[in-house]
């Protein structure tokens, strides 16, 4: 092994063969194959024609059959579904994060009475039964079944995000409040102009966690949206699978069209995504 693999670990001597490092790399590569294998298969399949897939599913694509992507884009009604997903995600996340900041700030500062109890109230939902059935009854009786507004309403609440924000706001010195107030800054303006820029890392974490949850949601659209024109992309893909299930090259292209933007986003926002999703995992 080259010495370069051991430089970070001073306990190894250059003259010794670093069996530990070799073993570690073997393990890491094994798992990497397990994770990249399905992705690679997806890419490979998406570039093949149906006959060549039927002949040998795993053979490397010899021709680059980009036609699959065009076909998937057109037949899967992608532009419409994508637009719906974007609208749902942006609208619900925006409403959520604005209301959440105004919930978290006075709780963190004790500017409202019983702020501790109010926070507990938000946490308690994590330990109560699922809200699935009554939520449906609520939207049904409000006439918001199969309605984009009703669908968005489902996602304007997220207690974990509130807890993250409260904890972060507590690290912002409260002397700042006093100083700003002395200068005549009002409550709303303080939160909007001074607090929000200061808590950007926590905001990013919460926004990313919440938005990814909405974007990837698959159960709610099958329950609440029956008209094709309202489908988000997740539901669209499942419908597409139902119709083109045996045509893997086109289906793979459709899946990839959705996977690539997510992967690129992931590489850029990795820090926030990881902290958001590991915190968001509390939701189970």
């Amino acid at each position: 092994m080259t010495p370069s693999t051991t430089t970070s670990s001073p306990s190894y001597r250059l003259t010794r063969i670093p069996w530990g490092a070799i073993g570690s790399y073997l393990v890491m590569i094994f798992f990497a194959l397990l994770y990249l294998g399905p992705l690679f298969m997806l890419v490979n399949t998406s570039l093949k024609t149906m006959p060549s897939f039927m002949k040998d599913a795993t053979a490397l694509a010899t021709e680059l059959h980009f036609q699959n992507f065009i076909e998937a884009w057109n037949k899967a009604n992608f532009p419409k579904y994508l637009l719906n997903s974007v609208i749902y995600t942006v609208a619900a996340t925006t409403i959520y994060i604005i209301t959440a900041v105004f919930v978290a700030f006075p709780i963190a500062r004790g500017y409202i009475k019983f702020s501790g109890a109010v926070l507990t109230l938000f946490v308690i939902a994590l330990f109560l039964p699922p809200a699935l059935i009554p939520q449906f009854q609520l939207l049904l009786n409000l006439g918001l079944y199969n309605n984009p507004i009703g669908y968005i309403m489902l996602f304007i609440v997220n207690p974990i995000g509130i807890v993250i924000l409260v904890n972060y706001i507590k690290t912002v010195p409260k002397e700042l409040d006093e100083a700003a107030a002395l200068d005549g800054c009002g409550y709303f303006r303080f939160v909007w102009m001074i607090l929000i820029p200061l808590i950007r890392p926590a905001l990013a974490t919460v926004i990313v966690m919440h938005a990814i949850g909405i974007w990837n949601e698959v159960i709610a659209p099958t329950i609440y949206l029956t008209s094709k024109e309202y489908y988000p992309i997740t539901r669209g893909l499942i419908v597409f699978q139902g119709v083109y299930g045996s045509n893997w090259p086109t289906l793979a292209a459709a899946v990839l069209l959705l996977t690539l933007p997510m992967l690129i986003l992931f590489l850029f926002l990795q820090r926030y995504i990881v902290s958001g999703l590991t915190a968001g995992a509390v939701k189970g």
């Binding site: 298969m41 609440v157 590489l267």
Partner: protein, 308 residues
Amino acid sequence: MSYHFGRGWSKLIPYLLLLPGLLFYFLIALGPSIATAFYSFTDATGIKGAPVHWIGFENYREFLFMGRASVDNLEALKRTLIFSVAVTFIQFGLGLFVALIVNQNLKGSNIFRTIYFMPVILGVVIQGLMWSLFLYPLGGPAAKLLSLLGLRSEFLGGPPAQAFAWVIFIQIWANMGITMMIFLAGLQTIPSELYEAARIDGANTWQLFANVTWPLLTPSVNTNLLLNIIGSLQAWQLFLVLVGYRNGTQVLGYLIYATGFGQTSGSVTSSFRQGYAAAASIVLFLLVLVIGMTVQYYLQRREARILG
């Protein structure tokens, strides 16, 4: 704490601005969550305006004790427990193992970390479709690997027990990254001086793990165990994408969805037995609560013993 932004009526501004968030929360989350218990005692359907009657414990009696369906229900309950135990322990073990390996800061380990976390952001639909393709029975990669050993399998289309095992595998594949990241965060809080001191005392790698890493990792061990248990008891979305509502593979979460909203996702029909589904939700909830609290109790006792 004293309020600085004005006095008199303007002290009400924080309350006013808090109100929308609180109202949404009551309306969308807390209220419906509590109302689940109420619905479980009714014969509510998914039809708008249909009369709803109070029927006491009838849904529970039917769910647990009546006829063929209740046998299936108890099977699903058993399957939920098997799924949860398998996913919890394997995901916990692998997540810890991989975190320890990646945490050595070998060159490139950041890239591997990113790769293992990748499925988490892709969501169940993409995860499911990726694996449906990888497990393509007519000469897909997994089928080819098996044929090298002279074996054949229908994978997700095979016997229910087999399909079920594959969903367990994919569930772990998809979420191991979260477990790993939580362990990595825990590993980074262990001061390196402790390792150096132990090494000077002549500890070998196994002793380092058993006497330094494992005890000091207790907080992330607890977090991961609880998250895995609670999460896996409620997880069923991958079943929807990978195998559909198929006999011999159903878990409780899927059963609730199927009875409450019809097996096929379509328009509202009278088969939407929402009172019954609410009762099933309460059964699942109690299961999660009892198991979660028991585990939490033992974990806290263990933590007190180890960390003092």
